[in-house]
């Protein structure tokens, strides 16, 4: 499977592109934010990736942030008005206002779920663009583990083109080649592309 590198969208709309990830500890939202930032870094951007640390136990809600810009980033406030929100477990929406600050016209909501965008719209009440992807299903299928962060980055590429596949693939190799070997890295890269292809848009 060959998907050619696409140019990243010009950051003309806002000079800082901001992504907020809501997950549960253990799902890889923190490393997802970091991989996204590092991919943008490889494309010559200024980046920030930072998590909110709470009580550190598996399954607890987590929030992590990525900023991408063509100019130096100085602010250290949490992201208030994200361009994209990624939700790793829609169950979080019951207790956390996951779409807070997300613009209803320009904002994008991406959810890890086998459900349709319409179903997510009902749950969240969000009026803007919604993408759904069964990233957990893809991860279980390919690697027998619940690690939705890589497939969901594929969906992010489809929704925004903020980073290229090539850059994310390089980051995956940087992080994991030594640790888990080529076979598993290839499966991660397959998962990344399936996150792009299997995403539903609504």
């Amino acid at each position: 499977m060959v998907i050619s590198k696409t140019d990243t969208k010009e950051l003309t709309k806002k000079d800082v592109y901001e992504v907020r990830m809501h997950g549960r500890a253990g799902q890889g939202a923190k490393s997802g934010s970091q991989m996204l930032a590092e991919a943008a870094f490889k494309q010559g951007k200024w980046i920030q990736a930072f998590p909110e640390y709470g009580s550190e136990r598996r399954g607890a809600p987590t929030v992590s942030y990525t900023r991408i810009s063509d100019r130096v980033l100085r602010t250290h406030e949490p992201i208030v008005n994200p361009d994209v929100v990624i939700v790793f477990d829609i169950g979080l929406a019951r207790s956390i206002p996951v779409t807070a600050g997300l613009n209803e016209e320009t904002g994008i909501l991406i959810v890890n779920t086998p459900q349709s965008p319409e179903a997510i719209r009902k749950i969240t009440g969000f009026k803007g663009k919604i993408f759904t992807i069964d990233a957990t299903g893809i991860s279980l299928d390919l690697m027998k583990i619940d690690a939705p962060n890589v497939p969901i980055l594929g969906t992010l590429v489809k929704a925004t083109e903020i980073v290229t596949f090539g850059a994310i693939e390089e980051v995956i190799k940087d992080h994991f080649l030594e640790k888990i070997g080529k076979e598993k890295v290839d499966k991660n890269i397959q998962g990344l592309h399936r996150g792009y292809e299997e995403a539903k848009n609504g």
């Binding site: 930032a37 980046i47 920030q48 990736a49 998590p51 130096v72 100085r74 602010t75 250290h76 406030e77």
Partner: protein, 389 residues
Amino acid sequence: MSVTKPLTGAQATAEAMRQINPDVVVAYPITPQTPVVEFFSEFVANGIVDTETIPVESEHSAMSATVGAAAAGARAMCATSSQGLALMWEVVAATPGLRLPIVMPVVNRALSAPINIHCDHSDSMGAATIGWMQIFSENAQEAYENMFLALKIAEHPDVLLPAMVLQDGFITSHGVENVKVLGDGIVKAFVGDRNPDRYLLDVKHPYTIGPLALPDYYFEIKRQQEEAMINAKRVYLEVGNELSRLTGNKYPYFEEYRTDGAEAVIVVLSSAAGTAKDVVDELRNEGKKVGLIKPILFRPFPYKEMREALVKFAVVGVLDRSMSFGSYDPLYADIRNSLFESERKPKLQSYVFGLGGRDIFKSEIRQVFNELLSGNLDSEHHKYIGLRG
């Protein structure tokens, strides 16, 4: 040749330590300093540095071993946060009097109680009076470069004092940013080797370190320590100029950001200064005359230079990330003190923010500027930012 990497503040600090390649590092891990120790230990385990690390059971022992190594003649480092700094306090307080140039990165974290792992400056502010230099870092880049600055000032023969390099816990230590890393050879040439004129392992020239000094000599020794602090202020600029040639960055006592013609100015340390710069830009675009002062060298404090900078403004708001219970907050107290000799004084307002990691938002800094411009101020009482009613 420098290369830009995506690094956390903790990684950037460990990277600086790798390049310095100290003889001895003794550091007991404590959140949020832990990744500094983890990354550096990896360098040691992989043989990338030839530093000796000594496993110890507490911070008190960590600082004791660091002091012992430095007294023996080694270039020795430690690193800590919060409760760790509190536990090693006895030895931390002894280090300046021993005139040992130990550099210690401190990742700022709130002090117990209540127990809290997040950022504020109550740990290092408590240690601001005992003779360590303190250099504050806004971001990972500064946390990296300030290590070299601190080391070379500390080891300067006119100084020989320990130095803390501060960065904000989690916000800086655990956030990934673009960091320009100097070439290994460039750093090696810059920091050179530690060449103490006397040290315990120099058995041909035995000397005593840390002796008893009763009313006959203690006072004079402390007077010498203060002289070293006075020298440190001069040496800071000299070493800064030297480092500037390598990095292209400047190392002033404090950074003035868009203060030309400013009426209202905020003074704030570390990562919040970055957030405030964005607010200054926004308000300047709206035609408001505002600016920012970010202190970098906090000990020794540059009173005269700060006074000369501050008298130009009508209003100054000082934002402290810690309290000094029963007195003016630490940064505010120094700003207020610096103005005593001046006939013309700006109006002052003290603010407390961000205790225990409470986030500070641009909207709140904007409100502070608006309040400063409105002139509704009380220089004798602090106000709180982001405190629930």
